[in-house]
Symmetry: C2
Subunit: 368 residues, 2 copies
């Protein structure tokens, strides 16, 4: 039953409406329950090793003057997305904004529907309350990552069925879509692992070396911080049993990208397990690499204030400081005040980066 | 002969070196000539309708104390990129930075090799002096746009030949590569036109409607400002005789995206004709649309300071104010202090945007 409604977002939306109608029939003002999304209701789940929302519940009430407007807007969002599902059409949250603006007039706060942020309070309300993803409400999200390599995807979309072959992408790759769940399946997953490369430039380097072919892997770049679609893609590939290795800069931004993929982040804790890959491993670049590979010594950069600050913060997070490898790594940053970029691995020889990754994986030299 | 060396960047690099050796043999200090890239040497080329560098030449001299360091670095860049061409391997300018740092040590200004900017003084020197593109020097650039629709590409890359079929991209698209020239060819170009859509979300909407199939067109999104690869792709498709229509927001950023595609921009004038599409036409969204489509009236936004400032600036550019349609359009912005986003076209009906574009093209309702 739970599974069935999980696959039926329309029923969930209808359920929300029915409960409100019942409340009205009973002479009560309609209410709406959702897990509290404030910082003090975020917990690290020891079993799943992810950041998620805790048990505290927030109740919004239509009869509360301070909540009435948001309440009404949430209902309007539920109503519109139900229509999108019935029409079998998708739009962005910006498209949703204009649909609502057309129906509701000027009273809509534009900034609640800004594409720039992953966090859009009104949509989050529905996601959290209904245990559903916005993608299941036919809302598209920003695409950013690229994939190529040893995978095949069967994509049922807009009345067509297409097979996307990751080995036939030439010099570029297939853009990872907004929704990798509904109507999309991986077939013949025979890859040995997934390699996530922070920077697009490095992805292009490895793609030119046909690294994915030599190593029988799937090559992904999130192009910086991973989009929702990219995180879901990685989660689904991990569910197929593939190891997920992450390769970033050794700096604040690189670590953030890794830990967001692995455990989620505090801001995105409401997403929970569907968007986290606790099995992920960190291949590099590490401070230890500087000792191990001689040519890297002259290719380090001075750590910036933001890198040092981030390293100190990370050392305080229990889900990070429980790993002695990470403590060693971050303490080395604070001590030497240095950092190193993944691009530096090309300093002596352009093709070295592939050798480096191969060796790291073979010798199981990763950080948890 | 000109054509032959155009296709032989290695010879051009060697030529640069040979001239310097000759100068040394004659007892002179080596020099290096390049078109001046300052604002007062940028002209609007009336014949080609693009922004380009004027005739003023700058000579850099190795024996000039203030220029010696940059001079040496330019020679080092030429030397490294020649090596990349010989090795038949590509890297980013950040990869180039580390190769140089490894050879030259610490004396290299990191900020000269930042990926963030399109403008990297050392590479530009070579591009302008040798009339060559950085892509021809085996330097990859940031990828950003996506393409799908009625086109087929034969991609010879890394020893493989792949056919990319734009009609077989399912829910997503092929990421437009960094270099669309070397080893890449369009075949069977039977599309009627190219449609460039500013925002990825709108591209996804049109892709779901299979707009490219119904209209037999090629659907491109630059995802904001167009990357070098996207601009070259559009230039090449325009060279095949395809009309290029651009569809952006009616605001400062949208106009900038259009005019950069069409004529280039002041900052990127050094790129010249290879990266401009003067044939491009602006489909919308326009201020006139607000009068024409009744439902849009309630979907306008208040123009921001930046939009009004940009509109005033644009009215001063002779290559813009020579078009009365643009003068009318921009004056309407200044007068009403309103703007409108392409997403607003979905306000009443999600699929309206396709009808809108079809009508605009059929009735030739575009701005020059």
């Amino acid at each position: 039953m739970e599974k069935e409604t999980k696959k039926n977002p329309k029923k969930k939306l209808e359920g929300l409406g029915k409960r409100m109608v019942e409340q009205l029939r009973e002479g009560k003002g309609p209410t709406f329950e959702s897990q509290l999304r404030t910082k003090n209701n975020i917990v690290f789940d020891e079993d799943f090793e992810i950041l998620r929302l805790g048990e505290r519940i927030e109740e919004r009430s239509f009869l509360n003057a301070g909540q009435a407007k948001t309440f009404m807007q949430t209902v309007a969002v539920a109503n519109k997305t139900k229509k999108f599902i019935e029409e079998d059409l998708h739009t962005s949250i910006r498209g949703l904004y204009y649909q609502l603006k057309f129906s509701l007039g000027e009273e809509l706060d534009e900034s609640l529907f800004a594409e720039q942020t992953e966090s859009n309070a009104l949509i989050e309300d529905l996601e959290v309350a209904l245990h559903i993803k916005r993608e299941d409400l036919n809302l598209t999200t920003d695409r950013k990552g690229v994939v190529a390599g040893a995978l095949k995807i069967v994509d049922k979309f807009a009345g067509e069925e297409t097979v996307i072959d990751g080995t036939k992408q030439g010099r570029s790759g297939w853009m990872i879509p907004s929704d990798v769940d509904n109507g999309m399946e991986f077939v013949d997953v025979k890859a040995d692992y997934v390699l996530v490369v922070e920077k697009d430039a490095m992805w292009q380097r490895l793609n030119e070396d046909r690294f994915w072919k030599k190593e029988n892997c799937i090559l992904v770049t999130p192009k910086g911080q991973a989009s929702r679609g990219t995180r879901r893609l990685l989660r689904k590939l991990a569910d197929k049993g593939l190891p997920v290795y992450v390769f970033t800069d050794c700096d604040a931004w690189g670590w953030y990208i890794y830990w967001t993929i692995k455990t989620g982040s505090i801001n995105l804790a409401y997403l929970g397990r569907d968007f986290a890959i606790p099995e992920a491993r960190f291949l590099g670049v590490t401070m230890k690499d500087i000792e191990e590979f001689d040519f890297l010594k002259k290719l380090t950069l001075k750590a910036k204030e933001v890198d040092l600050k981030r390293a100190s913060e990370m050392l305080k997070y229990p889900w990070i400081n429980k790993h002695k490898e990470w403590v060693e790594e971050l303490e080395k940053v604070l001590e030497t005040k240095k950092k190193i970029e993944q691009d530096a691995l090309q300093g002596q020889k352009l093709t070295f980066v592939g050798e480096y990754l191969k060796r790291k994986i073979e010798e199981r030299e990763w950080l948890p």
